[in-house]
Amino acid sequence: MRQRKLIPIGLFPCALTAVLVMLTGAQTAVAGYRSADGTLSATGFVDSATFVRKDEDLTKQRLQAQLEFGKLFRPRGIFSELSMHGTFRASYDAVYDINDDTYGSEAGGPVSYSAPGNPAFFAFINGGATPPPFTLADVPTSLGYAGTFGPLFANPAFDGAIPLPATGGTINSASNPNEGLRLAASDVYGYQDGGVILATPVRPCDVDSRGCRADYFDKTKSDLEYREFNDDWDFIRELYIDAAIPLFRGRNELALRVGRQQVVWGRTDLFRVLDVVNPMDFSRQNLYAEFEDSRIPMGMVNAEYRFGATNWFEDLNVQFLWKFEQFRPHDLGQGGEPYAILGAGNFFRAFANCWDNGCTVGNFPVADVAVEFPAQAIGIRNVNRPDHTEVGGRIEGVFKGVGFSLNALYFYSQFPSLRGGIESINPFLDPMTPNAPTVHPYSLAFDIEFPRLFMVGGSVDWYWEFAKSSFRVETSYTTDEEFADTSKASLYSDSDVFRWVIGFDRPTFIPFLNRTRAFLISGQIFGQHLLDHESYSVNSAGIPTMSQIGFQDWEDNYIVTLLIQGNYFNDRVTPQIITAYDTEAEAGVISPSVEWKPSNNWVVKFALNLKWADDTGAIAADDNRAANPYPPFTCAPPLLPPATVPPSAACFSPYSSLGAAGFEPLGRFRSGPIGAAHNEDEVQLTVRYQF
């Protein structure tokens, strides 16, 4: 009932401003400030963005202000140009107050898992041979062990998840209460594939610190509401000095830009191939924010030696980059945020809480069974952010009318890598047994790392008269990117990755729609190939697997995009359709929008963001629950002998996954950013006053 009131409340500021637009649209334009001598200028905007999602009502009610300034200084000494530029941004997103029971302090609640298989699983354990040193007497079936995030079964004897011995009692403790939780993949699907179920804390980290990790997913309510006012001083989006030193009597130039800035490589829309210098803030609006707004500016020295025209090239430029600001990864959105690409934030936070407090895992180790893990057995232990230098360079120019670039960047992955192989406890050891952390091969215990990468690539663009289109091609080759690999004891592998895109722009007249203004039709196809991709149908013990194990990301994937944009009434009304389709995930998005500019000062944009996906949109992937990291306790049932027969020898050594599969956690990467968000259809209204 409460949420039903939210939509009109959230839309009110937009409605009000829309009325103001109509009342003031015809008035004289208010331009930005420009000093009489032209050396100081300031422009900016304030806007209101109201986004509503089908099942969650309000997802964004953001009021935002941005101020951009430029100051030209009188050139001195060796400099022919000296200037300073800055962009400051401040915003307040009221969704965390208005819709606080979905995204704010009251978000989430108690969760419970359906675990009808628990009795049978108990029976199986009780009826089977007991692998040493684990005895039936140790199997903790009493209520004293049955702490859980929720009642699972009506029979008190099986009330709760099956607590593994090292749980040592309830995990539903004062520090880990069954509240403020949400099933981590419930925004994607209903677990109908029997996939692993995790619960993630969803309240801001100052309200509920469970599963938060410093400097990565640790946003407080204030951080979420006032996104720019954080420890990184993101309210200073850009602030840099530009300087130019003429050389060789002005025929060449050394241009320097020093400070926090965006450096844009590449020629693509929506997805990035070469444009990887700045990390992205996907928590702003998943994929769909303008890159200019969602790039995270970084402190850099950007030196460009500009040859201009030479004897061979119409234009030639050499760029050197040094990123001196502390490394920042992509902001993927933390558990509980409205925009969390791939839902990765939910998984990370759920798993970090598992490490800190222990957790109940549903559909584990098989469907319809729930198990409690103790703390420090599975989960995400640490987030290790690198603090070394990132450097890059680019040669760019125009040769015989063809634009080209050659790029290289020595940097850190902006996506996290979950590296297993860390020390953790054995959850199957009795609490009274010494349980020193050690490395358990194939165990689900991780640190998040950001591996060092080296990328080389290039791009070209040209105009082709026959097709009346401009074309762009972009490629990159990155070494040692890390991917989840369930065939490896540490559950990750590195692979070189080749990415490419071919795109075209074609202005096309469609006379029956508009006889004076061409429509821009722009298409792209992206490809990604993992050169070291490995996939197996038998595990490390030679046992046939239920699904392919190994890399769970696609070996090859292709995404196509199409943009059609028209303009009416002298470009004051701009309808647009943008669509993208992920061929492996079989998921797509279409976003029709209309932008209206009643005057120089006002811009109103109404948009839909609609997604679709094959079946549930949740693509299964090997989830490693059928591995044997704690032999012989996690030996799979097919290997367990009848009670009268000695256990299989395979049970006494770790082995890799047998390929039990579900969406959580690695299916997220198969579903991709479109498929994993397929339930997030939105209506979006933005009203901006610019000056």
């Binding site: 930005g32 009489a36 900016g44 905007f45 200019e292 500009r306 061979w312 470009d571």
Partner: protein, 437 residues
Amino acid sequence: MRRLLISTFAALGLAGGWTANAEVSEDVIKSSFFPYENWTPTAPGYEPGVVINADNIEQYKGIVDEFLYRYVKMGWYEIKTGPTFAMSLHPNYVEATRATADGVSLSPEGTLVNHLAGRPFPQEPDASDPEAGLKLIWNFQRGFNAGDSETILPFWWTFRNANTGKTERQLRFHWRFLNWKHRTVFDPKPDLDPNPGQIFRSVYATVLEPFDLGNTQLLIQRYEDDLRRDDGWLYLSFQRRVRRLAVGQITDAFLGSDAMIEDFEGYNGRISDFTWKYIGTRNMLTPYVKHTEQELAAEPANDADGFRFIEMGGQGNCFPMVTWQLRKVHAIEGTPKDKNHPLAKRVLYTDAETMTFPIVHVYDKKGDPWKWFPICKSHSDYHLAGNKGAGVAVDSCAVFFDEQAMHCTTLQFKSHINKEDNDPILFNVQNMRKTGR
């Protein structure tokens, strides 16, 4: 051999003389560049100073272009008139013509052969010459429309509803024009070097306002080879990147204005894209003015040079409030070769003295009148102080008037003929990135 010849001529040009060809006769030069030295155009019943309005337009129908005639007749505008005066081009351009034009000819494809600098075809157009129209359009394209180098800042494009006069939107630009070849005034002459792409001319525009388009940049490179398509790039500030333009599509409305890219300066396409026909010479009223003596607007306010734009008025504020003068013009009719081109034809009235376009008529696909483009030019000695002696008919104002949509885009210029603001290193893609924000 041709390259050797051109190189030789270029070297001679750099040395300060244009003596490679037999000189064009003085009569031709005088007729082409100094038509008003001993002659003043007249028309029956016309006296400079008369105000032409709906009441007396029939009397002056013969000296008013056909589109303007209809507008005045409907009471949309009154034409103030003044005396004819010469707007002589820079002596260097004239001298280059005198020295080199005699060797210029047309190839079978209609491109120029042996053009070094100056006006390629200074001779009077001959109605019996099937290439007369082509020669006139080449005279414009290799003309001195913006000198060797021109900066326009500020440059306001105002979108107006011609029915109501309501200002809908205003784009504020900084434009630059740079000739890489055939330069006659600014060093180096005749060509900038290096120029491996053999660019003839660059146009570089930056949007300053409004905010949503702010810092959008357009760069167009036109090549010496007219058969080669232009190259173009657009820097989009909201993407922070340069986007290659599909330059074949120059008939699209530019940033929502009433102008296509093809319309810039009267005609901004490849000569070879149209069939050009000379349709006659006449005396016609043109918006060629002494800027400082015109009715000026209050804007731009606080201009450091005290410069003010030409005021706009008349129906929907779509007409330039200037004094028109009677001048000799050649009419050219251009018919697009591409059957999918949105125009049936464009008629370019070419000022005989400057080879610039005071009036352009555009007809839609059906052949109906569609758009009227008056382009005001000012004597450079009566404009910005820095333009004194430039010898260029300086851009002062223009209108793209869409009579079918009853909509117009008015252009108000502060043009400056100079080389200092147009360093060649600005006219490349990398500079767009460098200055992009």
